[in-house]
Symmetry: C2
Subunit: 173 residues, 2 copies
């Protein structure tokens, strides 16, 4: 995975978060791609729409990719996501024997945003164990590309920014 491709893939995840997420959902985008960067699954967060507490976009992208490939293992594949995956989602990538994880904003960005924006409707609750820590304790040892286009991904934490971008897009159409 080269830096250029990782940045391009994160760009696609940012578009998912900005263009696909319904209002009231976490503006997050996630994909599973193969080793050439070909997209297998891509989606935005829809967590708040249903009852499945495990339905983080990373988890759903991985489950859907397994179903598409008819395989519990996604060897050679990468998980790409706008926000550092939580221990649940990092772990499922390890269970799926994926090749690596590429993320944008960090867990600390989300924590900082929450602390400085108590008015935010989205809680951005975190389990404060970094993806790197989970990866270091797992087999296979996944590659990690962290803080890719971090500043752009950080902006997605801000509902007002996302709303503004959506409105601008609507006007352009």
């Amino acid at each position: 995975m080269n830096k250029e491709l990782a940045e391009k893939l994160i760009g696609k995840c940012i578009e998912l978060a900005l263009n696909e997420c319904e209002e009231g959902q976490y503006p997050l985008g996630a994909m599973v791609v193969d080793e050439n960067g070909e997209i297998i699954t891509s989606l935005c967060s829809n967590l708040n729409a249903g009852y499945d507490v495990s339905a983080h976009p990373e988890m759903v992208a991985i489950r859907q990719a397994c179903e598409i490939k008819k395989d519990r293992y996604l060897k050679g594949c990468y998980l790409v996501t706008t926000l550092e995956p939580c221990p649940m989602c990092t772990s499922v990538a390890i269970w799926a024997k994926m090749k690596g994880i590429i993320f944008g904003a960090s867990q600390n960005d989300a924590i900082e945003y929450s602390n400085t924006h108590p008015e935010s409707k989205l809680s951005w609750r975190q389990i404060t164990v970094p993806a790197s820590y989970i990866i270091e304790h797992g087999t296979p040892r996944l590659e990690l590309y962290d803080n890719v286009r971090e500043e752009e991904c950080k902006k997605l934490l801000d509902e007002e920014y996302v709303k503004m971008k959506k409105k601008r897009k609507t006007r352009e159409i």
Copy 2:
């Protein structure tokens, strides 16, 4: 949660693992119970039957309980499982704002079993981050009841033991 009830609940999980698991599946049992110990969901591992890599029995028990209660949060509920839940399953219990986790055999028991039984068909692969570590870094802070009936739960790691118990049961019928 008192010790007696925790032991009784683990007993039910052991029965699930021994009586319900198909051959070739990990002999693991998991349940979600309410604060009085009433069972909401109970099941054994069926991971090897499908393509959903996240389908650990704990994960499935929690997802099913959310669906039954029509709620992403399982407040007041406990996750009960014969083997220490992995970081994925511990995390989903935290995301579901459960009250606590009760487990039998530890992750170290599984690692030790793997190391001393290279012939085992089941890999018992672990992400070596204990449930307690994930819980300490999560909100809400779940109660943890560890190593409940550990010796009995440890025996479930051994396929031959499980087969023998199954055969004995068949003869009894």
